[in-house]
């Protein structure tokens, strides 16, 4: 499956990209990756640690030279200095902000570093401070900010340049659930309202599902799936149901459920069981109801089991579907 075809107005074009880290034992981090990202698209890179996400992002930033293949932003090869006019990034593992400077001073520094005059950048800086909810902390030194605020500041510093392509490498890593949700909402809102092209890498499925329209799944340096998130979820949507039962599930009934409805037990106590079943073609929901009615257990609740990106990801990388 491959989405995002066509080269016209292409924000990012990666072709047969290979990166081998030299050394006594050379490591192939990226192995023939090809992808395109159109202007205004918000694309997620999903993969386990070591899948090649950060390496791809660093090649696009011009921080790494590829061993083979090419990467271009708006038609400019990424290793050329002029490519950096189009790209800004928040990189995992980097601090991304100066801890001794205040929120406002950091934003002013990064705007200036890109060649913006203080007059040009003033309004933009104020807008970003307000957008990321940093108004009260505008004069606080970055070192004194919470981890979440530092991360928001890092994203704001990347956005202050106004580049069309924004790369976010694990932007919610290390954040608590609440801040992570807040930041992903802000990123999604920014991408939508400002029509920025965003390439976001994460191993947090929730972030990618909430922010990205399209996702590339990487494993061992290769793209194994490239599709729109909703299409991917649809592709894995089954006639699955989640049931909560009161009473003890007898072994023959459990075996029958397993055999006919691919039952998966989610949790079980003495008098309560939560399970997931899938109604295969040729069977219908009433067969399931009849089986349970005859077993003596009470059906407490039934809900449709919708696949989430995490399940889809696991099925793909484990070879369920490619």
């Amino acid at each position: 499956m491959r989405a995002g075809s066509g080269t016209e107005a292409c924000a990012l074009e990666v072709k047969d990209l290979v990166k081998v880290y030299p050394g006594r034992t050379p490591v192939t981090a990226v192995d023939g990756v090809t992808m395109q990202v159109e202007r205004g698209e918000v694309v997620g890179l999903l993969g386990a640690n070591g899948a090649g996400k950060t390496t791809i992002i660093k090649i696009i930033c011009g921080l790494l030279l590829p061993t083979g293949g090419s990467a271009k932003v708006f038609g400019v090869p990424c290793h050329h200095r002029s490519a950096s006019r189009h790209v800004s990034a928040v990189l995992e593992g980097s601090r991304n902000v100066y801890w001794r400077l205040s929120v406002r001073e950091n934003l002013a520094f990064f705007a200036g570093l890109q060649g913006m005059s203080p007059r040009e950048s003033r309004a933009r800086i104020e807008e970003l401070i307000a957008f990321f909810g940093l108004t009260e902390k505008r004069s606080a030194v970055a070192n004194k900010l919470s981890q979440g605020m530092k991360q928001k500041l890092a994203v704001a510093c990347a956005l202050v340049r106004g580049t069309e392509l924004v790369l976010l490498d694990e932007p919610t890593l290390g954040l608590d659930v609440e801040t992570s949700h807040e930041l992903r909402g802000l990123i999604a809102e920014l991408a939508r309202s400002q029509r920025r092209t965003v390439l976001l890498s994460s191993h947090n499925m929730g972030v990618v599902e909430a922010v990205c329209a399209r996702v590339l799944i990487l494993a061992r340096g290769k793209v194994i799936t490239d599709d729109h998130v909703d299409q991917l979820l649809n592709g894995f949507r089954t006639r699955g149901y989640r049931l909560v039962l009161q009473g003890e599930l007898a072994d023959p009934v459990a075996s029958a459920l397993q055999e006919r409805f691919s039952m998966r037990q989610l949790s079980s106590t003495d008098h309560r069981a939560e399970l997931e079943v899938e109604i295969a073609p040729g069977h219908d929901f009433f067969e399931l109801v009849d089986l349970l009615r005859g077993s003596g257990v009470e059906v407490d609740s039934v809900s449709r089991a919708e696949p989430n990106l995490e399940e889809v990801f696991l099925r793909i990388v484990r070879g369920g579907k490619a």
Binding site: Y21, P22, G23, T55, K58, C61, G62, L63, L64, L65, H79, R81, S82, S84, R85, V87, S88, A89, L91, G93, S94, R95, N96, Y98, W99, R100, L101, E105, A108, F109, F110, A111, G112, L113, Q114, G115, M116, S117, V141, C157
Partner: protein
């Protein structure tokens, strides 16, 4: 062009803010420099009964020490700045500047030099008051000579910065080089080979201005050409070495690690 100027301005402003915010650090560095000079001066007077042992005269000591301070500032501005940015995890962000990292490194060095100059100048004044010897500070003659002399040091700084990108843990070599500069400063300038050394020939010409009262226009053209060639050679070598190391770091993925 504006892109380059605003980028330089942003770096200069950042350094000024950091120096101001950490004023105690800045002040203690200045006090250290002065105390080292005082120890040298008093020690030399004690040992040699009033005669300076560094250089031929007491003025020589002031010129030599000031040049050493300038050399250290210039050298560490480039090499230490790159190491510090790498340690702070900010090198990659600086690399993504549209002006290119070389411009950023030069801006870091020049802005740091401008900021440092404001501090070195009063120390030089204090040294003159302490020793009771006053140098002739003919700035129009002095500044071009200083710039050409320090160009060589910037070149060495760039080469060391490049090596730091690839080899990381080179602080020890970095510190040793600071003392090698002392040897360059006080090496005899007359032999032809000495004119190829960084700092040696420039310090000799600066000495002629501040001690002997010679003006820039009175210095023979050949002597100035030799200094210009020396500065260009070391700076060019530094730029070349930095470029090679930078490429190796980008190939091996070393920019983000320290």
């Amino acid at each position: 062009m504006n892109t380059y100027l605003w980028s330089f301005w942003a770096i200069l402003r950042r350094q000024a803010i950091e120096l101001k915010r950490y004023a105690f650090n800045t002040l203690s560095s200045l006090v250290t420099i002065y105390v080292v000079f005082l120890l040298l001066f008093l020690g030399a007077r004690f040992v040699a009964g009033g005669e300076a042992v560094f250089g031929d005269t007491l003025e020589g000591l002031i010129v030599g020490f000031t040049m050493w301070t300038f050399a250290l500032v210039a050298y560490s501005d480039v090499s230490w700045a790159v190491m510090r940015e790498a340690q702070q995890g900010m090198l990659e962000q600086l690399y993504m500047s549209p002006t290119g990292f070389r411009w950023v490194a030069i801006s870091l060095a020049v802005s740091s030099f401008v900021v440092s100059f404001a501090f070195v100048a009063p120390i030089m004044g204090l040294m003159m008051v302490t020793t009771g010897r006053y140098l002739r500070l003919d700035l129009p003659s002095l500044l071009p000579l200083l710039a050409l002399t320090l160009a060589a040091v910037y070149g060495i700084g760039l080469a060391v910065a490049g090596l730091a990108l690839v080899f990381k843990r080179i602080q020890a070599a970095f510190q040793i080089l600071q003392f090698v500069f002392v040897a360059f400063l006080f090496a005899p300038a007359e032999p032809l080979w000495a004119k190829a050394l960084p700092l040696t020939w420039g310090t000799e010409l600066i000495g002629r201005v501040v001690v002997g009262g010679t003006r820039l226009a009175e210095i023979p053209g050949v002597d100035l050409l030799l200094l210009a060639a020396n500065g260009a050679f070391w700076l060019g070598l530094g730029i070349l070495a930095f470029g090679l190391c930078e490429r190796a770091a980008r190939r091996r993925g070393l920019l983000g690690h320290y």
